[in-house]
Amino acid sequence: MIGLYSPGRSVVHRAPTLLKLVLLSVGVVVIGVLQQPWQLAVAALVVLTLFVIARIPPRAAVAQIAPILWMLVIVVPIQGLLAGWLVAGLMAGRLITAVALAALFTLTTTVTSVLEAFQRMLRPFGRWIDADRIGLLVALTIRCIPLVTEIVTEVLEARRARGTRGSVMALAVPVVVRSLYAADALGEALVARGLDD
């Protein structure tokens, strides 16, 4: 499972996932309450330093933050007119800094270890939630993504071959029906392979 992970051996990469999660939450809250431009500048510098320590390729970092920048292009002027430019600038700065911090977490933590951390956080609810089943479901879903993607692609191609384009229904019905059949077959295979042992 690669996901958005950017491989590395830095301190940021090696820090325990739960610790990183806690620091991330604290960081986001702190950034959220900053009121002075100089405080924000310090926070931004800290985050930037972390990126450097983790040796994240600038490209990977920008790809994570870019979608938010697009939103800001529109939002900042609106807010500038409504609430003043200082407030608008601070809001934009806080958002970018917090987003960068969250992106850093995702870039330096493998999907597997995040899922393990999630599972550990669910442990106190063990009476209601079967951690074993959750783990199985996660793996099964990751397995199913290419399976269903293939179904969607095939249906799209069949539709193109028949020249019936446009209708969402002509896409959705066969995709759902074929997915359900695949699910039945998978269910059967799970039983045959001893799921209920």
């Binding site: 397995r143 293939e150 998978l186 392979r193 001893g194």
Partner: protein
């Protein structure tokens, strides 16, 4: 070899009667089952490990009633399906093979050891950490086979295991099935797969219409198709 018995087995899906009064005793090493689409042969073999429970009658494996002891029976009977894509349940090749073992509560060491052995035996060693969906169709069926045989069942049931494969891969899977020490029960439309089998059963409209050595049964089946 195990003894699999069907005792007055009938089955209906709603209104549709798929099997009528089947009595069989399967003890041979390699058994083929042929029949037209919808003849009931897939339902028949699914009863051997309890994927389908008969509407009436009993199926047993080595004296274990499948309806009552499904778990025990599934440890004895491995099953491979037509479409390996729907049988692979884990993201990577190695994880998928290990899945079957992990359900058995084996030690981590033993799981690794047996998984590695299976990877080598089926020529998948170079793909251990690869996502299973990137394998070719033939490799996927090999993975399905590996993932079932790693648990060392006494019986292997295969429902049209080569239907979706090209000729070369079909031959390869056929050779593997033939060379296995386990009892093998194969449903197929491809007669070549049944070469060297000990017994072939022909199913038509939910009943056994021919049963014997492959040559005789397949002649009877061809006559039926003509």
């Amino acid at each position: 070899m195990s003894t699999i018995t069907f005792d007055a087995v009938s089955h209906a899906f709603g209104e549709r009667q798929v099997l009528r009064g089947i009595d069989l005793r399967l003890t041979e090493h390699r058994i083929g089952i042929v029949g037209a689409n919808g003849s009931g042969k897939s339902t028949l073999v699914r009863m051997i490990n309890g994927l389908v429970a008969p509407s009436s009658g009993t199926v047993s494996v080595d004296g274990l009633d499948v309806a009552k002891k499904a778990r025990e029976v599934r440890r004895l009977v491995g099953f491979i399906f037509t479409n390996p894509d729907n049988q692979i349940v884990m993201p990577t090749v190695q994880e998928d093979i290990a899945f079957t073992l992990r359900r058995r509560g084996l030690s981590a060491e033993e799981i690794t050891q047996r998984t590695t052995a299976a990877l080598h035996r089926f020529g998948l060693a170079g793909h251990a950490d690869h996502p299973a969906h990137l394998l070719s169709g033939g490799q996927k069926q090999l993975l399905a086979l590996a993932a079932v045989l790693v648990a060392d069942p006494k019986v292997l049931v295969a429902d049209e295991p080569t239907t979706l494969l090209d000729a070369r891969n079909a031959r390869h899977i056929g050779d593997l099935l033939r060379s296995m020490s386990q009892q093998v029960i194969v449903v197929t439309h491809q007669f070549a797969l049944l070469e060297g089998f000990d017994r072939v059963i022909v199913i038509e409209h939910g009943a056994v219409v021919a049963d014997g050595v492959p040559e005789d049964s397949l002649d009877a089946y061809r006559a039926l198709l003509a």
